[in-house]
Each structure stands twice: as structure tokens, then as C-alpha cells.
Amino acid sequence: MEEINLLFQGFAVAMSPFNLMLMLVGVTLGVIIGVLPGLGGANGIAILLPLTFTMPPTSAIIMLSCIYWGALFGGAITSILFNIPGEPWSVATTFDGYPMARNGKAGAALTTAFTSSFVGAFFAIVMITFLAPLVAKFALQFGPPEFFAVYFLTFCSFVGMNKGSPFKVISAMMLGFALATVGMDTVTGQLRLTFGNHELMRGFDFLIAVIGLFGIGEILLSMEEGLSFSGATAKIRSQIVWETWKQLPKYWATSLRSCLIGCWMGITPGGATPASFMSYGVAKRVSKRGENFGKGEMEGIIAPETAAHAAGTAALLPMLSLGIPGSPTAAVLLGGLLIWGLQPGPLLFVEKPDFVWGLIASMYLGNLAGLFVVLTCVPLFASILRIPFSIIAPIIIVICAVGAYTVHNATFDVWLMMGFGVLGYIFKKLDYPMAPMVLALVLGDRAEDSFRQSMLMSQGSLEIFFSNYLVGSITALALGLLLWPLVGKLTKKKAVQAGNS
């Protein structure tokens, strides 16, 4: 097993004292970010990215990915104790987590959530360990048409999997693509769509967009809801942990199913949020105690938490092996790799095995560290939420401003961030999805390059996307997903008609 050998080399890289310390720091920061409203995995990492510029790339990515794991864990704390999802993917955790905490079983609920998260993440990491090298090896044969087809598939699956209006998904996505074209054209070196404005020559950096959309937008939304925190207190005693762990194995089927749902939704860019809802829904339907769901059922925590973590982790598979992030947070990590001069994609496995396997090994260790940190420090993190919003809100806005400024050392970017904040607020309320917009902004240039190269190869004929079995089947799959909402609509109409007659 070549992978196992490489993985052990990776452990050797990840196990240095400096990296282990960064892991703990990252996980702790991540949990804090996950607990705070307005700071999440994506914008939290975006803000902290400049702080890692002075570190060696492997250490930096280890710390950043650990922030991500921490944020995934942190979301569950606020959901269970305060009924406030710290992150969108932990909304489904509130359904059963909060009732359980109110019944005086907060410790058990938290232990269940953390353990399930760990199981989900672990499953996904094992999958990454063995699948990512294969995908990368396979993708080495890809030419521009294949790559464009994969990008196309990524974006079409957003349209196919979103529950809202497909036209809004397309509009938001195209806005991202259009903003990505602003600035220097990477092929001809011409300035595009800057309309003579010097500030626009830099283009729209997606990090600014992420900080604005998810950070400022979220603060504005929380303000509207007039947050007042009142929650259960929790202290996890080791006895409760043991007792909960003894009960968990009997839910192995739910766990396994949630892992699979999560991995699938993470690789295709469905993301952690829909994965958690889907898994919760399926568990509710399948479980014998389904009618108890929503009243504080352990299975109702296991299902969404396992799936969310599996999805959040699996989103790194296409990011590493193809250079296509499966979630906005993965996109920010990808942005980091590019800044350090590492081009994610199939070649990364060949050229920088130390880096790739160090990162994969750090995923195992980081999640273990995460589980340890959250199990021991829950009261500390819960107390953060008791800091009133009128202190937290201005501090988060200051932090966001700092984060936006440090990307290019430009105050214009801070204004842009506010603009994106307003956009995020409006988009959220009108159901325009933000993830496809962010991914389009990230992948815009590369999608365009591969499209133009393909067009050059074929002298402008779109037939190149059906020129062989590989690219043809990817394109066909993408088109199928794109048209999926239409199919759904037609069958629904038929069902309604059948119901009427």
C-alpha cells in the first residue's frame, strides 16, 4: 500500500512540535470563530490568512485547516446550548440538540455531537487518503476541455441541487464570474472592465467578497434578529462522556449512512449545510423512533453532525486533487495555496508529496486535537457567547476591516467589503445563494482559461466538449444536473394534476 507509506511520511512532517502547537492554536481559534456570530469557517480563515504568510506553507495550511475543523466543531456548541446555530451547517443540530440540553442532558448532547463530528470527519479523511491520489492520477490525463467540463459540472450541480430558484443561482454565479474577469486578462494581458478606474485594476479578490458576504452580511442579519443569548450551562464530566460513548455504537447504521451522505454532498459541491439537513431528514424517516425527532433524540444529533463534518472534510478532496474547491471554506484554503505558489490540482501530488501528505496526516491529528479541545473546554467557549452583542459586533467589524485591508494593503478593499456585506444581507434575504458566487469568483479565471484553450483547440466549436467519452460523459452529466430543476418542475405539475383528477 503506497498510500500508507506516504501517509506515515506525512505524519512525520505533521508531528513536529511547531506544527502540533499550530494545530492546537488553530483548533482553538477555529472553535472561537465557530461560536461567534458573524465569523465562520470561510471568512475566519480569510481574515487569518495574512497572519500565516511568514510561516512555511505546510505549517500554514495545517493551522488554517485546523481552524476549519475547529469552526466545524464550534458550530455545534452554540446550537446545543443556546439554540443559535453558530454556522449554517449546525442548524439541523438545534432540532434535537437544544431540547436535549433543556432536558438537562447538555453534556450528553455535546458529547454526542462532538463524537459524531469526529466520526464523520474521520470517515471522510480515510476516503481522502485513498481516493484523492487515484482521482489526481486520473486527472493527470485531463486537457483543457476535460477541465472545463469538470468546472461546468461543478457549477451545474449548484443549479441542480439548490432548492430555490435556479435563475437566482445562475444570476449569482454569473455575477461571480463577471467580477472575476475584472482586472488583467491572464491570456492577453489586457485590462478588462475597469472603466479607467485604478482601484479596479487589482480586480475583485474573493477574500474580500468572502469577508463581506459572510462576515458583515451576517452581522447585519443578526442585528435584525436582535440577538439575546439565554442558554443552558454545560460542563462535560468524564463520566458523562463514557456513558454517552457506550450508547453510541448502537446507532452505527445512522452514522454510516450519514457519513456516506456527507461524503457525497461534500465532493459534489452541495456542501455541509444541505448534507446535514438531508441526513437529518433521512434519519427521521428511517428511524424507528422517528416521531420522537425534535424532542431531544440522540440520533437527531448524530445524523446532521456526522454528515456536516463528513461533507466539510470531503470538500477538500476535489480541492486537493483537481484544484476545484467543494465549499467556500475550501475555496479560501485554495486561495491560500495559490498565494504560497502552490498550484492545487493533480500535479501537486507529484510535485509536492511532502506538502500533500503532511496536510492529510494533519487532518487526522487536527480532528483528534479538535475532539480533545472541545470536550475539555466547553464551558470556556460557551462563556464567549455570554459577551453581549454590543461589544462583539463592533469588534467583529473591526476584525473584518483588518482582514479585508491586509489582503492587498488597500483601504479601497475595505469599502468593497462593506459593499459585499450589503449584497450578502440582501442575497440572504432574497434567497440568492452565496456559495456559487464565491466559487465562481475563485474559479472564474481558470474556468475562462480552460474554456479559451478548448476553443482554440477546436477553432471555436463547442463540439470539443463531446469529442471523447470522458469529456462527453462529464458534459452530459453537467447538462443533466443543469436541467434537473426543469424535470422536477414537470413531474411536480404532473403529480399535482394527478392529485386533482
Binding site: 467589524i397 483588518v402 483601504t411 444581507y425
Partner: protein, 172 residues
Amino acid sequence: MSEPSKQEMVVSVRTMEIITALLFLVFGFVVMTGSIKLGASWGSDGPQSGYFPFYISLIILLSSAVTLYQAVFQNKEKKQEAFVDKEPFRQVMAVFIPALVFILGVQLIGIYVSSAIYIAVFMVWLGKYAYWKAIAVGLGVSIALYVLFEVWFQVPLPRGTWFNPLGIVGVQ
């Protein structure tokens, strides 16, 4: 508003849907004219710079036209649905407008002094905290930022284009 709602709404979901779709259309036109100016066809060496953005703008125009159509003609019931009510809107503005002033401050007098003032004012005004607490938190955050960024990670933060208050205490 035909139906009296519990709270006064500032704007309905339908109006916002229409405004957003119209803005998308305007954006689409701007991108389209921009890319046509660049050259959106096939040049001597392959696709020109405006080739890709042109099609992007075309899709924006089409999809937002459909959204506009749906908002105007199909989802009329959203007229009664509030995009935001008056009280929450006031809350949002209470965060948003000071934030804009803060960013203006960042540009003019640098981030450290404006952060301290912004946090302190916010705490006194919205949180009804005692002055000394507000000032302590404001100063604390600013000093923490300075130590973290300038000293520890050596990343310079904005000093202010108009006046650098840090100059008074001799920090460049």
C-alpha cells in the same frame, strides 16, 4: 399597503426582488458593453478578451430577466411579505451607518484610533455601558491589534491618509 400588518414594513419582498433583478440587468448591460468594447469575437490569435465576459453578461441578462418576470407577474403574494420591518431596519442601520463612518475613519486617521473610538461609542450608545468600560475595551482592542499585527506578524495596518494620530506618540 392594503393589509395592516403587525409591524410597519419598510419595503416588501416583491419590491426588493424587482429592484435586485433590475440592478442585475443594469450590471449585465454594463459588462456587455464593456466586453463588446474589448472585442467579444474571434481575433487573429483566438478568442478576444471580451469573448468570455460577453457570454457571461448574456446569461446574466437572461436569468435576471426571468427573475424579474417572476417577481412582477408570478409571485404577487410577496407584496404583503415584509423584506424588513421598521424596527429591525433601524437596528441594522444602527450598525451599518457607524460602520461606514468607521471605515471613513480608517481611511483618514488610520485604523487604531478609529477602532478604539468606534468600539467605545458603540458600547456606550447601543450597549449603555459605563464610559470607562467602553474606553477600556476600545483601547484594549486597538493595542491588541497593534501588538499582533505590527509587532508580532509585521503586517502594517492603515495609518491614515489625512492625519496619522500615531505620529503624536512617535510611532511611524
